[in-house]
Amino acid sequence: MNLAYLWGIFLGSLHAMVPITLTATGEVIGESAGLFNIGLEGIILLSAMTGALGAEAAGPSVGFLVGLGTGFAIGLIFGLVCTYFKGVQLIAGVGINLFSAGLVTFWLIHLGVPGHHAVAEESQMVNISTRYGDFSPMIFVAIALPVLIYILLFRTKLGLKIRAVGENPQAADVAGINIHLLRLLSTAAGASLAGLAGAYISVNWLGSVTKEISAGRGFIALATVVFSGLNPLLVLLGGFIFGFFDNLAVWVATMPAVQKVIPWQFVAMAPYAVTLLVVTGVIGRARFPAAMGIPYGRE
């Protein structure tokens, strides 16, 4: 095992990190404003589908935009239900997951080949080739975005307002902030990042859509948010850890020697087991907005 080999694993982990980091960064915005969206899994799945079709119709960058837009649209629906209509967030999230899983499977059958849709090579986003390997441009987005969101949340007035509606909506309301609108826009902005993650998976990273393409990444992103304690910079670290284990299964698939010792099923468990362990380990110090998950209404 030489250095180039380890570098390959590192590169694979970076690519696996992107969807988790993007989704989790978005969810940090939403949760800071007080909305807990467990529909992220469904949003990633549906955006992977729409993003792929968008890319095939008009090129990879349009595919990314379509994914982003899909996430935003679903985020708006989720946000409307959970702000103005005072819906129960967990139930609304489950509804989105069921809807997306159904619609994507339906769509795949409708497209002809049940269960699988490969994105044409020429519609996929091209990676940047360097001496050190191929990098997806989205890796840089996934690294820059948490930093930008950190600045937004902790260094701007808008960020203060977002955190205020999550922490103490009564006080924010008195201060003249439109609670419902700000919460709605925060969660929709967050969901659009999950949509971007979905498009990345199908248009760039894996180059195909299956009904299980999201593979629990929406929930791993939720765990990453817990790990981060709503700090976008820690999302980056958490995303890399989970990305590493996500990539591990792919890596082991190319190593028959390892597979003889550890069956692939046990390697495939790794990202989920590690997520559970990490969340268990850090949960004590994470602190969440006081009003998270609670619909707001004036008394």
């Binding site: 209509f85 489950v94 619609l103 499977t105 339906f106 409708h110 099923q265 559970l276 969340v279 004590g284």
Partner: protein, 364 residues
């Protein structure tokens, strides 16, 4: 829960259902199919004749049980979406018992016992992590669902594999199977196990002190704590009971579902039963009796969905799309009141009847 409250819940469910089917019809049209013939096939395939109805009930049997898992948690203020993974292990445990050639009666009892225990054991980490570390059950259950899935993949491929047919596990022994209720269909006496479990859960939640404590915790956790209810006991009880019914769902499905009485690799027949149960619980408003009706209705949609796929060529998955929309709207607590604003919108004067014009004048 009072009678009028139940009526309110029912109205809400019906409204959400109507919206769900309406949006579903729109999507069916959008993809270029015919919604009317699709829904006709759907309902005929669900409740059209004895055969269809039996299939609907057969589909409902495991769904009632996984829905109970969610409902017990929901009543206690917990969001237990772990039925999926617990069900896999329950099903596998049932198959594992047939590995040893036991006498029928003993094998039958042991299969059920092992299945419920497997479900309960798999829910234990969730309860322990929540009670001791405060890990949110949404995250722990989902992670354990995935771990369970891969564990079962391994068990199916390596341990319980049928020596003659590598794509499936050994079949459940002849004497351990649940006899059929309607010959020629998939409906077994297992449906009564599900009904029985629903009644037990009802009695547990509404007729015991523990049940009262669970509902009190769900209703107002702070007040429950002040009243001296120990949260960790509630958590442990809720998740273990939920695990028991989820495990039983696995057993009922494998022991009572012809023709194979085995699990294929990839678990196509049991995957999703846990998540569908979640929707069933919400449509049944997390009440055991409501769940029975919701499960039969939803089991019917799944049976009818096959007919819809065959005759109207609309993929079966449409059923899940509708289900998702229904659940999304059920999340809105004041759905009924929300729609009542429609009554306040008054049509322009010339379109109104004489009587409503008189009413308006009286109001002025």
């Amino acid at each position: 829960m009072g009678f009028s409250a139940n009526i309110g819940e029912l109205t809400k469910t019906i409204i959400a259902g109507v919206i769900g089917f309406a949006v579903g019809a729109l999507i069916i049209m959008l993809y270029g199919y015919d919604p009317i013939s699709a829904y006709q096939a759907l309902f005929n395939g669900a409740f059209g004749d004895l055969y269809s109805f039996s299939e609907s009930l057969a589909n409902a049997s495991p769904l009632i049980l996984t829905a109970l898992t969610f409902a017990i948690g929901f009543r206690g203020g917990m969001f237990n979406i772990g039925a999926e993974g617990q069900l896999y292990l329950g099903a596998l445990a049932t198959v594992a018992v047939s590995f040893f050639h036991l006498p029928s009666a003993m094998g039958f009892a042991l299969s059920l016992i092992c299945a419920v225990l497997a479900g309960a054991i798999w829910s234990l980490p969730v309860a322990i992590l929540k009670a001791t570390r405060g890990v949110h059950e949404v995250i722990s259950t989902i992670m354990l669902n995935w771990i369970s899935q891969f564990l079962c993949f391994y068990l199916i491929a390596k341990i319980l594999v049928d020596p003659q047919r590598a794509e499936k596990t050994i079949s459940v022994a002849q004497g351990v199977r649940i006899p059929l209720l309607v010959p020629g269909t998939s409906l077994s006496y297992g449906i009564f196990l599900s009904f029985f479990a629903a009644i037990i859960v009802y009695l547990l939640l509404w007729r015991t002190v523990m049940g009262f404590d669970i509902r009190a915790t769900g209703h107002n956790p702070l007040a429950a704590t002040y009243a001296g209810i120990e949260k960790w006991k509630i958590i442990l009880f809720v998740f273990i009971t939920g695990g028991l019914t989820a495990g039983l769902a696995g057993a009922v499905h494998v022991m009572g579902r012809p023709p194979v009485y085995a699990i294929y690799s990839g678990m196509p027949s049991i995957r999703g039963l846990g998540f569908e149960g979640l929707a069933v619980a919400m449509i049944g408003r997390n009440h055991p009796i409501g769940i029975i009706f919701a499960a039969i209705f939803f089991g019917g949609l799944l049976a009818g969905g096959r007919m819809m796929q065959l005759s109207a060529h609309v993929p079966l998955e449409m059923v899940r799309v509708v289900e998702g929309i229904v659940v999304l709207f059920l999340a809105i607590p004041e759905l009924v009141q929300l729609l009542s604003f429609l009554r306040k919108i008054r049509p322009p004067l010339i379109f109104r009847s004489k009587r409503s014009q008189d009413e308006d004048r009286r109001r002025l």
